[in-house]
């Protein structure tokens, strides 16, 4: 599934394996306005991610899976894209995954499906 079998994954990120802010696998990423000129300046992998995000808000894991870019590399490239204002990383609306307001919303939503 790796995009380019001839390049070891972190060559694409200049050897960086960590991001400054933590991007969870379920953190949502979106594109405000797709910039064609900016896309042309990106590496093929970053461009694929950028194009994919522009099709709709989705999670880091979905982007990794659909673009065939491994999770760690996806995180680093998304951070670069966010720093360049190409993509927006959705801030968590709740400070904790255990926030009862969040839990109750998810419970209510699931109950409707059950």
């Amino acid at each position: 599934m790796t995009a380019n079998p001839w390049v070891r994954p972190y060559v694409l990120t200049g050897g960086r394996t960590r991001t400054r802010r933590h991007l969870y696998v379920h953190t949502l990423v979106s594109v405000d306005r797709y910039d064609t000129a900016a896309a042309l300046r990106l590496s093929p992998e970053a461009r694929r991610l950028y194009e994919r995000v522009s099709s709709g808000t989705q999670s880091v894991a979905e982007l990794s899976a659909h673009c065939g870019v491994s999770l760690g590399v996806t995180r680093v490239l998304l951070e670069d894209l966010a720093a360049a204002d190409c993509v927006q990383v959705n801030d968590d609306a709740y400070a904790s995954p255990y926030d009862h307001r969040l839990l109750k919303r998810v419970i209510d939503g699931l109950r409707e499906l059950a």
Partner: protein, 198 residues
């Protein structure tokens, strides 16, 4: 505010939550995720180098850069502004560094067990008892729709504390799988304070 200038382009602020589905190989994790997900379970991979300095004596150093970890995940859109993601953990113990990554930020965990092979889920139970703060429930997957062992025997065999909820599930069934996710979330409600500093 960005909304004012381009009302059609800016998506509303969407929130995501995550539940982790753990358990040994072949206990039905992917089946459960697939039963409730609105998309077919997606498979992505991460490189073990990402996971850090895992020492695998069976393999040479070069192996680490080429080993990938596959994980399944699914998605349930609960509202226009709320998406729930389900992540199945990679089963093998050597992928454990990946578990920490998957569990970070999770609202609940479900450990699936198969009573015919309880032992394959021991490591997952151990992990959530000792190595993770994510509140968890244990769900017995009824493979033939039949319960072969009373739950108190399963609890004893797993050495499970009374405080950990133990439920049954038919992982193939959407409603049953959904109820199990609800058991996980209700357990987190019980085990945490209304607003937890994180």
């Amino acid at each position: 505010m960005a909304f004012a200038s381009s009302p059609d382009r800016v998506p509303p602020s969407i929130t995501s939550a995550k539940i982790v589905v753990a358990g040994g190989f072949g206990v039905g994790k992917t089946t459960l995720v697939g039963a409730v997900s609105e998309i077919p379970p997606v498979n992505t991979e991460a490189w073990m180098t990402q996971a850090g300095k895992s020492v695998d004596p069976l393999h040479g150093a070069d192996e680490k850069t080429t080993t990938t970890v596959a994980m399944d995940f699914g998605r349930i859109t609960l509202a226009r502004d709320l998406i729930l993601y389900l992540f199945g953990t990679p089963g093998q113990p050597r992928f454990w560094p990946m578990w920490d990554d998957l569990c970070r930020g999770a609202s609940a965990a479900v450990v699936l067990v198969d009573t015919r092979r309880l032992e394959v889920s021991f490591p997952a139970v151990n992990y959530f008892e000792n190595d993770s703060d994510v509140p968890f429930v244990v769900a017995v997957n009824l493979f033939d729709g039949r319960q072969t062992h009373p739950l108190d025997q399963v609890r004893e065999a797993l050495g499970l504390a009374d405080a950990v909820p133990l439920v049954t599930v038919d992982a193939r069934d959407r409603r049953s799988a959904t109820l199990t996710l609800l058991a996980g979330l209700n357990n987190t409600l019980d085990k945490t304070l209304p607003v937890t500093a994180y």
